[in-house]
Symmetry: C2
Subunit: 419 residues, 2 copies
């Protein structure tokens, strides 16, 4: 066992022990801790900004792209944002102990199923240091110990933030070890985490496709896959084309780099001639590059050609692929072939088409007449989210506090034995 | 890509396509298919018995142990049992489409979460051919396509059963390809299945610890871990010792080879002198071998010595390890250290101890004053089970039809876009 393996394993062991006590820690203690953690972040903003300044300087010296520098950067406002997030989490209802079912069996056994914490959650994330606070808050509130493994470029920022959070939490009675930060830039730490079966109950990777793929393929610890989003908007025949244009523009341009943004626009052939020119003009005014299939290019002749690869690409950028389809069946087939199971929408006035689209499209969130951009824990009313699951096990779609719980059967008897 | 990889991948592709249609197949069709499958098994009992006879002959020639031969063996009664299981599954409520939540957001978006099938489920199992029918029935009823991979020793039996089931299902309108059987004894097939991300949604291994460990460690497809059961019975001070003895005997001896059987008995030191001699006598009458710690052996002097390894062993046999503890805290610590998260019970008259035991013990099912043997889909009222999950993600405890579902958010709007 090398050094990093021993360090991470010891941290996981400590987290597991803490998780046992945290599972039976009251909401009052957890909420007081969350508020104290928020106060501590604001009080120690100077130290956090100093650490972040060092990370920023090193990243700039390495020639890190501007977009990534912006994600790494902290300022007073962002620290206040982290603190506000902690306080909001304190105000959410505590899911732990909530009853899910209760039954009395013919033999008199009383069986209840209640929500319990999962145990120890590993979060592997990239540039943004605010994930440190968000993830710690959601895990703490749901009674889970957390092992945070941030990106190496944010090491000093994350060290400062996690240290302040852990100290403040402990002072309020949260078991020591419940918030763990892996204080090493070594990539081996991720490999160690992925093999901590029996200590870690789940790993949630948050970051680029490469990171997520690696964890899904290699982890022996169960994984919740998040984030990949090839989302479609389908404009049906007879749709309100004004509404369709507003929804398409919003889905593509309001925040192109996020996972619920549209990547491909599908248009029924019956409305292509009317809709596509207006769409192309409006998208181009927002600097969107268009790539179409032959039928789309027959209408908007100066559109670039979409390749097979385009249909399978999450641009995360101001690029949109456009395809004309013969009918709703072709739209659904295209979506089910190329989507990542995230969010899909149909713009239609046809009740049967709306119903069919929602039944047959295989995705976490299937919309009728609304932008896919709403797939988000806050927008769904969950208060916060740890990520958006694109897999079908355990949780699908935005993951809030409820999705960070497991269950336990509690059975009361009076001496029953089984025949 | 070698032959077995191509075959299995093609089957998974066919299963995935079938799963899309099966997801929107009505309960009426699914239930008619289940009844037709039951009839077909009974009608073709002769062919099944002939195939099973060949498997049995080959297994006997290889010197297969008697216990395994018994699990492999089919007769008229067992075939009728399979058919009855199919008919019972037809009578269970269909979980698909059931609403889990519904909310209207401030912006007017209507958000519903409904149960949907998982998609394609891989079942990897060992000797018993009846798993073929049970798993096919539960997956079909819950709208999932299934890929069945049975043990090589039951290849001919499983081929016969799965072929009859698939044919009968298809005749009733179940999409072709929804019930797939991997007709190869090659161990490579398991390796291929574990890498079918994007085609298989989950793998459920059912069998020995070696199989389950391999799948958990190596699979890129999400896994639901089942079956390991180091279950404890704790006899508290002040317990009704008559009840404690009945529960302990039932938990150990009613069916020692199953996962919800007791492996370790913990006894409070205050009742050890009175309880242990009676317990030892009764267990020995049932041919149970006892292995105790020093304190237990001070009371029952002819008990063998338990080693550290005993506490961590699932005997699945008529062996019981026995430990005397100072108090309930030591009992809970011992359980949380050595258990597999399956089923645990306390025999007590103390309300606070009952409450504390249920809160602090980390397991799928935590009992007060009842035998751990009740952890079972039928006993819990789920009608049938595909296995007992000992992990915390997705499902914990007996997995019935509900646990074979995922969810989907259905959102209705009137043109909403996100700011």
């Amino acid at each position: 066992m090398n050094d990093i393996e021993k360090i991470v394993r010891d941290q996981a062991q400590a987290a597991k022990e803490a998780s046992r006590r945290l599972a039976v820690t009251s909401s009052a203690v957890k909420d007081a801790a969350l508020r104290a953690m928020a106060d501590a972040l604001e009080k120690n903003a100077g130290a956090i900004l100093a650490a972040n300044g060092e990370d920023m300087k090193a990243a700039e010296a390495k020639g890190t792209p501007r977009a990534m520098l912006d994600r790494l950067m902290l300022d007073e406002k962002r620290i206040r944002g982290m603190a506000d997030g902690l306080r909001q989490t304190a105000m959410l209802p505590d899911p732990i102990g909530e009853g899910e079912m209760e039954t009395i069996r013919p033999n008199g056994l009383e069986i209840r199923r209640v929500k319990v914490p999962i145990g120890v959650i590993g979060i592997i994330y990239e540039a943004r240091p605010n994930v440190t606070a968000d993830a710690a808050a959601l895990c703490l509130k749901s009674g889970n110990a957390v092992i945070l493994r941030g990106g190496s470029e944010a090491l000093k920022s994350n060290r400062a933030v996690s240290g302040i959070l852990a100290e403040a939490a402990e002072k309020e009675g949260v078991p020591k070890g419940a918030i763990q930060f892996i204080d090493s830039p070594s990539r081996d730490a991720v490999g160690v985490m992925m093999n901590l079966t029996g200590l870690l109950d789940v790993i949630i990777p948050r970051g680029g496709a490469g990171l997520i793929r690696r964890v899904v393929m290699e982890s022996a610890v169960p994984v919740i896959e998040t984030g990949a989003g090839i989302c479609h908007t389908y404009v049906d025949a007879g749709a309100d084309l004004g509404m369709a244009l507003r929804i398409a523009l919003n889905a593509k341009t309001s925040r192109p780099a996020v996972c619920n943004a549209m990547e491909t626009l599908l248009v029924h052939e019956g409305v292509a001639k009317e809709f596509l020119p207006k769409m192309a003009k409006a998208m181009r005014e927002k600097s969107v590059e268009l790539r179409g299939d032959a039928a789309a290019r027959a209408v908007v002749t100066d559109m670039a050609e979409a390749s097979e690869e385009d249909w399978a690409t999450e641009y995360d950028d101001l690029i949109l692929s456009v395809k004309v389809v013969k009918n709703i069946g072709e739209a659904i087939s295209h979506i089910n072939r190329y989507n990542t199971g995230h969010s899909e929408t149909i713009v239609t006035n046809d009740l049967n088409h709306a119903h069919r689209f929602q039944r047959e499209v295989d995705a976490a969130a299937v919309y009728v007449n609304a932008s896919t951009r709403f797939t988000d824990g806050f927008e769904f009313g969950f208060g916060a989210e740890i990520g958006i699951s694109t897999q079908k096990l355990h949780a699908r779609g935005p993951m809030g506090l409820n999705e960070l719980t497991s269950t336990k059967y509690l059975i009361f008897g009076e001496g029953q034995i089984r025949e």
